[in-house]
Amino acid sequence: MKVRISAALALLLVISACSAGSTASVGAGPDTLAVGFTAEPANFDFTRTDGTAIPQALLYNVYEGLVKLDADGEIVPLLAESWTVSDDRRTYDFRLQPGVRFSNGAPFTADDVKFSIDRVKTDWSISIKSKMDVVDHVEVVDPLHARVVLTKPSNGWLFDMTGRVGAMFSPTGVADLANTPVGTGPYQVASRTRGDSIVLRANPDYWGRAPAYKTVVLKYIKDPTALNNALLSNGIDVIAQISAPDSIPQFENDTRFTVLQGTTNGEVVLSFNGAKPPFDDIRVRRALTLAVDRRALLDTAWAGRGTLIGSMVPPTDPWYEDLSGRYPHDPDEARRLLAEAGYSDLSFTLSVANLPYATAAAQVVASDLADIGVRVTIEPLDFPAVWLKQVFTDHDFDASIVQHVEARDLTTFGKPSYYWGYDNPKVRDLIASADAGTPEQEVADMRAAARTIADDAAADWLFVYPNVVVAKTKVTGLAANQVSESFDLTGLG
């Protein structure tokens, strides 16, 4: 083998000498940035293909909406300079940025606003198109003034406009969305190599601040170790989100890299099937919640990175408050509650997504519950295929662990048909009045709803998944939090 290695080495030297001068890095030039992701977009058409990968690449970078969500979770102007809301909270008047053009040269006007919003109802096929159901009609008041009239007041609608469904399209640019996206954003798609990368180039006619990097290569690397190696070996400049927490210290201890840790919208939830015994008994749910030591779980399952929450609200939402102390770790009280409920000999199956965070968390949950005499069988389910079918759709489960990545998904506790099997009319009313009220009312009502589901132990919110970004030290302007649907390249440099 020694002979063979030296022979291989010789061969290697010869070949690397042949191409001396070119380095291994795609991010070699100062104008180029290479960012590594795990999930690759199947195509560029998020109107017909669901999933987070397409908006992650395109939203705010290639496509823009009237409004956007900044890294702190605030709704800020984008293609709308400003907007006003009528007193009955049903009419939104948007004043548009002048001088905006699509990457194909077409000017952006109120007609495109009407076209884009109407098009969600008529041409989009993915299920989140229902987010625009509340729109009654769109009026073009003048080229720089669009008026959107809703069928009922909805704060959630404006928030949704910061996401995919709010993206602005041109009637001249929707012929081949899957391959040729046409937006108003600072970047255009230059090329893609399926299974490998997408190259974005700065749009020379962008209406706003020119982006810091002329070329951004989005590299797609599914394997977490391979992704880390790409950064360590100079193949990329940034890892958008680390998915193996044990690998973070190697970057923290290396002066070549900066490590940013923030939060996401991803609540990792231990859910109970509240529609069936024993989980329809609040005492059982409370007992199970009291029995789990979430701090220790976070340390074991995700290297202590992440945030404890206690309800379905990530720290970046306006109605966030720290409810993580609502059910402190108390095995004695848990045993007492279980005995009181008549379930002193309880056993159930924990059907978890077969993803690292979920299986790791499941081990800790099982061991904590064994302490109070509850026997747990862990059943890993192939995610997404089997988990979606068995747990999410068929509700054929006792308890589960999965990460809920959607923004502001506290509202799922207002849907009795959701797989939580949770139905509390008070929560439904609070969520409805939050959507209809003033922003102040919205915060107050959502906060009350979050408290109520926590009191009801509707689920056990284990932790919020952390967003850990690693970059070469030369890369500046990266956001620590990942709260919008976009990996926003506009703040860089």
Binding site: R194, G195, K222, D223, A385, V386, K389
Partner: protein, 315 residues
């Protein structure tokens, strides 16, 4: 000869048909709903039903199979559930990457195995031969993905001589293409080379003891020229057999190595498609792999006749 070839082709066709049924049946029993995976968590039951219908999943299995196979016979592998694009051209793209990888891996294996195997045979009573045998034994025990991870650690992460992964098409930048191909080819090739070395050694050893080689030596040829002129061709028959089997192993090994080195080949496409329940893509890929293996075996069978004229008559 012609009859033999026709018979082999018939066997090939039947094997492919059987394989296609097995592949289809496996995908049909796999749990999970492709429509649900494609639509995500917000899907309404109506939309789910409509999507299943669009995918043709509401039809009887036999009908699904026949329509799929009918398309494949016309070169139409269907459209991906996930991307909505035609699968055939993608398969071709991905197959190109995998073939480069397998070809380069095979080249590494051959470059190592033929000289070292022959040396090990010639030196079989000396310490050099024993050393080669011992080291090849070690190589056989190392899985390709482990070799890949080690190579990346040393040459990409520590020394930073070569990229840790990624793919540059050869027509875009030949230098980058070659640099990117080295480590994956070595991970596949070193291990296969170790296996092959052992076969070359025993084949050459066998030849060394044959009468015709003794005759060649006795008419005055020196040992190496004798082996070159009379031995290697004879030693090649068993080696080609193993080579054929190894090509199949390499194709499978490529699935894992592609993941380690982030190469957009058939293997990584297969893993992605399975997890997305993109059934048509999975069926297409597996079918292509099965056909590739069967074709390799077919070619190996034909090669025997080319290498060894005695076998031509026998067929």
């Amino acid at each position: 000869m012609v009859v033999a070839i026709v018979r082999r082709v018939a066997i090939l066709v039947i094997s492919v048909l059987v394989a296609s049924i097995v592949v289809f049946a496996f995908m049909a029993v796999l749990p999970g709903d492709p429509a649900q995976v494609a639509l995500g968590v917000n899907a309404t039951p109506e939309l789910l039903a409509k999507t299943r219908q669009d995918f043709g999943l509401d039809r009887p299995l036999v009908e699904q199979y026949l329509s799929w196979m009918g398309g494949v016979l016309h070169g139409d592998f269907g459209r991906s559930y996930v991307t909505g694009e035609a699968i055939g051209p993608q398969l071709l793209d991905r197959l190109g990457v995998t073939l480069w990888l397998v070809g380069a891996g095979m080249l590494v294996a051959l470059v190592l195995a033929v000289p070292f195997g022959a040396l090990a045979a010639v030196w079989h009573r000396r310490s050099g031969g024993t050393a080669i045998s011992g080291l090849s034994q070690l190589g056989v025990a190392v899985p390709a993905f482990l070799a890949g991870i080690l190579l990346v650690q040393v040459f990409a992460v520590q020394l930073r001589w070569l990229p840790s992964g990624g793919w540059t098409p050869p027509n875009q930048d030949t230098g980058e293409f070659l640099r990117g191909l080295i480590l994956p080819a070595l991970s596949l090739g070193l291990v296969q080379g170790a296996v092959l070395t052992r076969y070359v050694r025993s084949a050459v050893l066998d030849t060394l003891g044959q009468d015709y080689l003794r005759t060649a030596r006795s008419k005055g040829l020196r040992p190496y020229p004798a082996l070159m002129r009379h031995g290697l061709r004879n030693a090649a028959v068993p080696v080609v057999t193993v080579l054929g089997l190894q090509l199949a192993t390499l194709l499978i090994g490529a699935v894992v190595v592609e993941r380690v080195f982030v190469l957009p080949g058939l293997g990584s496409m297969l893993l992605d498609s399975v997890s997305a329940r993109d059934l048509l893509s999975v069926q297409g890929i597996v079918l292509v792999l099965v056909v590739a293996v069967l074709v390799v075996n077919f070619v190996v069978d034909l090669l025997y006749a080319v290498i060894d004229p005695r076998l031509r008559a026998a067929r």
